[in-house]
Amino acid sequence: MSPTTLLILLLGLSALAYYVGRRRAFAVAGGGAGIKHLHSRPVYYGALTAVWCGIPALLLFGFWLMFESSIITHLVVAVVNDIKNLVSGNIVSGEVDPVMQAAADHYRSLQATSTAALAVCAIALAIIGIVAVRAKIAPTLRARNVVEKVIKYILIACSTIAIFTTIGIVLSVLYEAIRFFKIIPVTEFLFGLQWSPQMAIRADQVGSSGAFGAVPVFLGTALISAIAMVVAVPVGLMSAIYLSEYANKKFRAAAKPLIEILAGVPTVVYGFFAALTVAPFIRDTGSHLGLGVSSESALAAGLVMGIMIIPFVSSLSDDFINAVPQSLRDGAYSLGATQSETIRQVILPAALPGIVGGVLLAVSRAIGETMIVVMAAGLAANLTVNPLKTVTTVTVQIVTLLVGDQEFDSPKTLAAFALGLLLFVVTLILNVIALHVVRKYREQYE
């Protein structure tokens, strides 16, 4: 029985359980007129039966599927080793095939056994649940309270998924990163000036030093993010100011959603735009001016990333500018300040903490942005701050190191997790600071 069929069957059984429980409740109450003798409404007895039928079986189902594959692999590997030990003494290596065949058969039979066992166990559990609850149904059974308690636990479990996700991220990245740092010392990774993660397969290979000094990568990330912020902050902030202070209602209603479209465009589209249109344009302009611009320049990637971040900066700043109380504006106007003077000298300073928080969030987004740089920035880790040269970023390196075939024992693959750890930590710090600042600021005017 395939897992999907089993799942559907279990859901069907739960529906049946609901029906059985509800009928039983009517029966013990002595028909429709006797309902008032029940503690809860009949649907709750049905729900209680369904809960005890479905939840244990579904939990078993979930855990079984999660661990089935690794346990079976474990068993098969043990068997394969047994067979290998047995044959290594007296059979030549040419006849390994039957052994493999036996192992494959064994794997298949184990899998079939496992699926069958799962089906039997889960269905048995479900039926036991139905029978047990049905027997217990009585007018004094507090079905509603139990059902509500179960639902509440389910709600709590759902809300903890956020925590488990964070723990999962930290553990998975940390585990591989620690393995990486066992091979390459942390200091070399953080302060080394040479990044070329291709490891030599043969000793005499050219250009395969396998250096893991990540400073050029950090610098490239910082450079591209800086260019993006130089574009996004002034444009985003000024458009937010115009929209919230100057524009009339009609203009605002039209322009704001249009700018927000920029935020809804997928990053892969920006990446394509940067690689196809912006980078050649910058290169050609540069060569007209007599500058040698690389076709994968940091400028192109940064510029397009800046465009992507504009709506992010502008909508956050818009919120904060609108949160400044009208009384501050009125005070400034009454002293004879022009509108721009009010904005520059009263509103912006008042909204500054919020805007700084928003900009920090934008920086964290720029650092973590992947597709634009993968498509428009280069792979070569140059130690430079010249925006016309090719640089690489943390996210580009993660993608190039992990896409394709991986072996989880080479430092090349593990390096991606070390970079991922760093990326996570840096963005985490930025986010926590920014969220804290924003929260404090919001409280100030509430």
Binding site: I163, S172, I259, P266, V269, S364, F417
Partner: protein, 433 residues
């Protein structure tokens, strides 16, 4: 104020008042005001220009994909080469070659012939094979068949190649140009609606590559995401908003949710790779894994939107429900959630739209493979629409630039539809209390 006192003693005739100083500076200040205003307006215009430039560049590159160049061949289905028992494996390539050869009988020599055969897509032989398999009666007859042209011919007809460029720099040589012109004058070259683009999977040949496989992959991934993230997100929001007391534990959950909303998407990809693929041993490149990763990514979005929807339900509703004897769970389930549902759905659609456009985490879990077949289930290897765009953007052929742009147009169309649905939903059910 100080200035006034300093100045007054010097100008004895008419004592200068504050107002004069103000008036003197007024013109400058108004100019500054105008300038400032202009900066703001130009910032908006700049972002709108970026937007329109982006869209125009994508559309102008992409719209030509919806048409495809076809060449009309007079194919003689030669019974000598098509034997009843081996119809599926017969030499259809040869059939195409002979038809082309009969159109240009004076083409001799190996390299010339190869150039001639290169005008027609390698998909032509598959098309003929299907024709024969569907209807074996055509064997022995001659029939006119429109077959897709090679991508280079397609690009030439669509005007993306410069005819005047030196021959060495051209993908289409002089001789081929002459043949193409001759066929065009005979009405054998025509642009038709590009059905293959909407119905087939990926291919190495641009003229045969389609997005249907990627669309199906994206759809399966989003189904998994929706099934998991909507109930879990709503449940988490309901707990945090309606039941949780404010303590350290709920604070921790809240910080986590806000933070997860800002974690770079590629980190979720690393999580998926390490946990779902390596630890749980789920299949690589499968929509189910993609869906799981995107679920973790969209959950914060849905939770935050659902919470604000719950917050906007006025407390009087809750009090009224409790007042007539509902339990807290009944109050939430029967009264609060139905009222908050439109807001929750809007947030979910927006979260889904974001998940649809997401690429980076899918690269990490191997959905970036070259997959020709249309996926049929949640565990089949597949790609997704944005990943397909990424793959095509990497291909060197000129024709793939066009296809990439067209795929982007399709993706944007989906996104716009979803967002429009969210806006309509919000407009329709928005309630001011």
């Amino acid at each position: 104020m100080n200035n006034t006192e300093n100045i007054t003693p010097h100008s004895k005739k008419r004592p200068e008042r504050t107002l004069d100083i103000v008036n003197r500076g007024l013109a400058r200040r108004y100019r500054a005001e105008q300038r400032f205003r202009l900066y703001g307006l130009s910032a908006i215009i700049a972002s709108l220009l970026f937007l329109s430039f982006l869209f125009i560049s994508i559309f102008s590159n992409g719209y030509t994909t919806f048409q495809q160049t076809f060449i009309k061949l007079n194919v003689f289905f030669d019974p000598e080469h098509l034997h009843q028992e081996s119809l599926a494996t017969a030499d259809y390539q040869g059939l195409v070659k002979r038809s082309l050869g009969s159109m240009f009988p004076d083409v001799k020599g190996r390299s010339d012939k190869r150039m001639l055969y290169g005008l027609v897509s390698s998909g032509a032989s598959f098309q003929l094979r299907e024709l024969v398999l569907k209807n074996a009666d055509i064997i022995g007859k001659t029939q006119a068949v429109w077959v897709p042209a090679d991508d280079d011919v397609d690009m030439l007809i669509k005007g993306h190649f410069d005819r005047e460029a030196p021959e060495a720099e051209r993908r289409i040589k002089d001789r081929q140009l002459a043949w193409i012109d001759q066929m065009e004058s005979e009405g054998r070259i025509k642009k038709k609606f590009n059905r293959a683009f909407f119905t087939s999977g990926d291919s190495r040949e641009p003229e045969l590559a389609g997005i249907w496989g990627a669309v199906v992959g994206s759809f399966l991934t989003l189904v998994v995401t929706l099934i998991l993230s909507f109930p879990i997100g709503v449940a988490a929001a309901v707990y945090l908003e309606e039941f949780a007391s404010k303590n350290r534990w709920t604070d921790l959950i809240e910080v986590n949710i806000n933070n997860l909303a800002a974690v770079p998407s590629i980190v979720f990809g690393l999580l998926g790779l390490a946990v779902f693929l390596n630890f749980f041993g789920l299949p690589r490149s499968a929509p189910i894994v993609g869906g799981l990763v995107l679920t973790l990514m969209t959950l914060p979005v849905i939770i935050i939107a659902s919470r604000s929807a719950l917050k906007s339900v006025p407390p009087s509703i809750r009090e009224a429900a409790l007042g007539v004897g509902a339990s807290k769970m009944q109050m939430v389930a029967h009264h609060v959630i139905p009222l908050a549902l439109p807001g929750m759905l809007t947030g979910t659609i927006i979260g889904m739209a974001r998940a649809l456009g997401e690429t980076a985490p899918l690269l990490m879990i191997g959905m970036v493979a070259f997959i020709v077949d249309i996926p049929r289930g949640f565990t089949d290897p597949s790609t997704a629409l944005p990943v397909q765009i990424f793959l095509w953007a990497d291909s060197p052929e000129r024709a793939f630039v066009e296809r990439t742009s067209a795929a982007i147009i399709i993706l944007l169309a989906f996104l716009i539809t979803m967002n429009a649905a969210a806006v309509v939903l919000r407009k329709k059910f928005e309630r001011r209390w």
